[in-house]
Amino acid sequence: MTESTTHGSRTPSDDYGHLVPLFEEYASLAEDDPRRAEVREELVTGHLPLAEHIAQRFSGRGVAKEDLVQVARVGLINAVDRYDPSRGSDFLSFAVPTVMGEVRRHFRDTGWVIRVPRRLKELHLSINNASTQLSQRLGRAPTPSEIATHLGLSPEEVYEGLEAGNAYHSMSLDEVLSGDTENLALGDTLGEEDAALEGVENHETLQPLVKDLPERERRILALRFVHNMTQTQIAERIGISQMHVSRLLARTLDTLREGLVEGAKDD
């Protein structure tokens, strides 16, 4: 074992060197050998720091660190399963690209292919703040030119900031800031809102889909399509930004649409 490795100039392989013989054992075990599961677990657990390191490298790009670690761990498990020591390369040189590939795919799937430049993120954030302030003052959502005047920016800059928000599908800071659904007033019951969708076709398919939505999404859906509130009004009611409402609503409609299509196929 290598518990005495110093933290100074160690190379990655020093950290995991003690695991190398396990791979040979793993490869030699028959598919149905009960020892296989044990060895596999030991290999995965032993390499967990590798997944952490890779996740760390990709953090700070708008995807929660815990999510990245999860994704990296999945990549690690895949790497352990697919690694073949008889091919001659060592595990790390096989695992690192495998795990990184998994993390990259996650970024691609969640829309963060491109790293949003800090300037645009800040711009997006200040637009978001300005929009909240102006909404309160005006009693309605502001226009891009009103935001530009308010911030002393050119309209072009504001356009760019707004488009950045759309294009990068940013789970921007308010996702983090507003946290969970705890600050929701659970006053309005959702029963009557379901009833308001009664007249709608495919009601039987729709209802369970709506029920499956997270609390907050269901509420936003009801406020927009049953109570006919604007996104700005909803934002104020729920305590998140209008842009955040917009994103949640888009996602919700997507989910419902997919569900309805699936439902139609089953008929």
Binding site: S131, L138, R140, A141, P142, T143, P144, S145, E146, Y159, L162, E163, N166, A167, L197, G199, V200, E201, N202, L206, R224, F225, N228, T230, Q231, T232, Q242, M243, V245, S246, L249, A250, L253, L256, R257, L260, V261
Partner: protein, 143 residues
């Protein structure tokens, strides 16, 4: 003026913007972005921009699911002083308009100031009909 030959060859007024793309759901993000960009530049308020984006998304996915495989969808954005109008058209084998009782239509009519859909026979050889959806979003009267 009513359009009779929808995948139009004229791009109306100079300020109209027309997109032609495969009637395929993979293109939705592009249409959404274009819709948002146009609405931003037309200086609609942020609620209206977000609504239009969702409405165009809904309209296009409704159309795409009715479109003949491998056909083209035409999206046109017309901006006037009062409103932003979106028209989407696909060719379809069916001749029924999207149901106004559907959840999707409910979404559309809530998000847009007006929504309309109609079908007309296609003159182009081959497929049956053009299905259109038209939406408008009014520019805000600023107070």
């Amino acid at each position: 003026m009513t359009e009779t030959d929808p995948p139009s060859h004229d791009v109306g007024a100079q300020d109209d913007i027309e997109l032609r793309l495969g009637a395929n759901l993979v293109h939705l993000p592009i249409i959404r972005s274009v819709a948002a960009s146009i609405a931003i530049r037309a200086d609609l308020d942020l609620d209206a921009i977000a609504d239009l984006r969702l409405a165009v998304d809904e309209a296009c996915s409704t159309l795409i699911t009715r479109a003949v495989a491998d056909s083209t969808m035409v999206c046109r954005f017309t901006i006037s002083d009062q409103e932003l109008r979106f028209t989407g058209t696909v060719s379809s084998d069916g001749d029924d308009v999207p149901s106004t009782a559907s959840f999707g239509w409910r979404v559309l009519t809530t998000l847009a100031d007006s929504a309309d859909s109609w079908v007309e026979p296609s003159r182009v050889n081959g497929h049956g009909n053009w299905v259109h959806i038209e939406l408008t979003k009014r520019k805000p009267t600023l107070t």
